[in-house]
Subunit: 476 residues, 2 copies
Amino acid sequence: MVQATLSPDLIARFCAITGPAHALTEAQDIAPYLVESRGLYHGTSPLVLRPGSVEEVSKILALATETHTAIVPQGGNTGHVGGSVPREGAMDAVLSLSRLNRIRDVDPVGNVIVADGGCVLADIQAAAENVGRLFPLSLGSEGSCQIGGNLSTNAGGTAVLSYGNMRHLCLGLEVVLPTGEVWNGLRRLKKDNTGYDLRDLFIGAEGTLGVITGAVLKLFPQPLGHEVAFAGLKSVKDALALFERASSRCGPALTGFELMPRLGVDFTTRHIPGVRDPLATRHDWYVLIDISTSDAADTAARMMEAVLAEGMEAGLIENAVIAASEEQRKALWHMRESMSPAQKPEGGSIKHDVSVPVSAIPDFMAKADAAVTAAIPGARICSFGHMGDGNIHYNISQPVGADRRAFLARWQEINHIVHGIVLAFGGSISAEHGIGQLKRDELAEIREPIEMDLMGRIKRAFDPAGIMNPGKVVRA
Amino acid sequence: MVQATLSPDLIARFCAITGPAHALTEAQDIAPYLVESRGLYHGTSPLVLRPGSVEEVSKILALATETHTAIVPQGGNTGHVGGSVPREGAMDAVLSLSRLNRIRDVDPVGNVIVADGGCVLADIQAAAENVGRLFPLSLGSEGSCQIGGNLSTNAGGTAVLSYGNMRHLCLGLEVVLPTGEVWNGLRRLKKDNTGYDLRDLFIGAEGTLGVITGAVLKLFPQPLGHEVAFAGLKSVKDALALFERASSRCGPALTGFELMPRLGVDFTTRHIPGVRDPLATRHDWYVLIDISTSDAADTAARMMEAVLAEGMEAGLIENAVIAASEEQRKALWHMRESMSPAQKPEGGSIKHDVSVPVSAIPDFMAKADAAVTAAIPGARICSFGHMGDGNIHYNISQPVGADRRAFLARWQEINHIVHGIVLAFGGSISAEHGIGQLKRDELAEIREPIEMDLMGRIKRAFDPAGIMNPGKVVRA
């Protein structure tokens, strides 16, 4: 068991490691580290440590294991499941990676970038672009999320369809273990079959097995051709049929296929400055199609025209527009990325980050819609997301005029309904956001005991003192 | 510790699980399960079990854990590192997966295939092709290796460059644990962030953590365009420069980039029936370039022509030929796949399966060649392989007229020299073949103690009785 309180002496020992300038002990300094952007979690902590080197991280964790002090690693704190904030009522110390923000190496020939765990994602994207390369991970919070957090949550985002999620974009890791020992796994190899896959165990472990302080990331050629289209359709079923055709035709050149409902387009055009509906006609559903090609620029254009022509001919697309400039391409993506924030002004929103096999999306949504509207008549379902990955952000805005608090009080009940349908389709209750505190108990309920048992064994083997981000992912 | 002998009573208890028809106890029946194709390992065993169901596998492992009986899971037994044969002088029972060879489901819409662990790779390729899909894993032994073994060794092969290795081709697993418990992780999801990555821990564990009895594998569209070219070059450096250009131009459409030395072309044309040099001119080095595209068939042809034209213009390619038919494409690949068997008639061969960062290949090979020929004057270096993955099969044939046994007696010494150079370039001593018995002690030597310690903790957490494939990968 970890400490229930931190004595002034112990706090002083931790502060001595970073130096007092980088250890926060005043409530007003600590406050920003305790809450998530979505506001679901409010933790407590007497201490925020901001180490400036891997060695300091190592000393902090060694002391934490020695003294049974709980440590919560925190990157950009942009998560949605309570994974990066301390527990409420506990005395967890926050370990902020923000000062470990050095890009260690950029190698455009070897197509890798080596970065500290605290590097902001946008800075890594920019460093890649500076040498004519692409680091494809892209998500709404890229201006503030950190790569160590992206790795710890196996982040997804908008480019997974072609490039894969964070796990696929990482070649090597440097991890400080709960004991303070440092695992140097900063390999730059595409193929390496030498023992158990420690890398992928730390990726997605949400900081419960160690602290990711450095990573080797893959770079890709900048695409020469890039096209974005926005198409109106009459059903999710048609969107799936269009995806299948586009996917077969374009292969890995299909770099995005995002689904949006009419309600989401209404919300974004109503609330997000600068967003407008690019089509003159109204449609029940929309898809954003993104195609990138590495050879001649016109390959992407030819592919996009073929996809749209075929979709229209097959009666799948009602109307469509191809962005004619980089500005227009950005505008289409901006609408898609505004789907989530645009829900806020509409009142309470009960959210789900789920995945099902891609081919099951229409049936899943039909069943979930029926069950949710039966439970909450007038509920406004704004389900959108990464259709090509089977990943739907199945969000539900409160009925017009309903009481926000009363609506949000039904979060668990509605989660239970939707997740039940997800599981019946062999789906996942967390496609990309992770488990954290939000889904920890639910995970233990839905999984077979042997799976939770294996996870518990790994947790205890790596973190015998139980100091690493306790209460997240697994109960242990 | 596991049992040093198996009593007749205990053997009878194991035989009762599969039924006597599927339990081999006679020396001549057991013999084929004890040796590897390359002949480096000759194990001993009193018992080969050939279960016909997951339930029987479960009962076998439960009894093995109860009675501390060592179990060696075996697929097609096509490995090269002593991972799938029992230890010499021990009493390990072999668990053959061969009867678990059912393809459970083929879903061309969801783009997955679900197969038993004992399915032969070629059967899975054929099942995919039957529904117009591609399962891209391809390697020399595909006619006899099994998918459970491919998964347990994280197999690579010739399509890794674009499609990734086995780890990237698998969505879900079913694993029988050493205790006999069954983990059903047969998920079909592209995105699933729900806890620790157990799947990737079993993949590549070489049967030391559990037995893979089933898997969900990814399918891909059959490419519409496919081109293969064979080019002669003057140096490995030029081959690297050509790879960089081809890779930038083609992106994921570059589905193969294989390097071959003149010596390898000589060996194959001399010893392998039907192989002929497709170029009239002689060159020091050759590359096989494979391009596949999912859209119109002429896209691949256009790309290949551009790659070759650009390579010639830049002075990188001395001469080249594009295969004009499927038969010619197969013939070029056949030459590449014959590089390894063609070394056999040339006498002893000391082999290395190594990887370095792609950009380091020319320097690595120059240093290794110098060191090897200094140690063994007249040694004939036949280094070839998956250049685009940084994976070189750095093989050395004995000097002409040398004594085979005396040459092979220097295996360890030469390994030590070559691996030292590999490690200096940040490379891997096992790019795709794994660790098994062959590299177990070497791995422990070259890795930091913390890494071996973490692997040991995982091994003990999953297999406390130490029954699963003991003596492989980790010392346990």
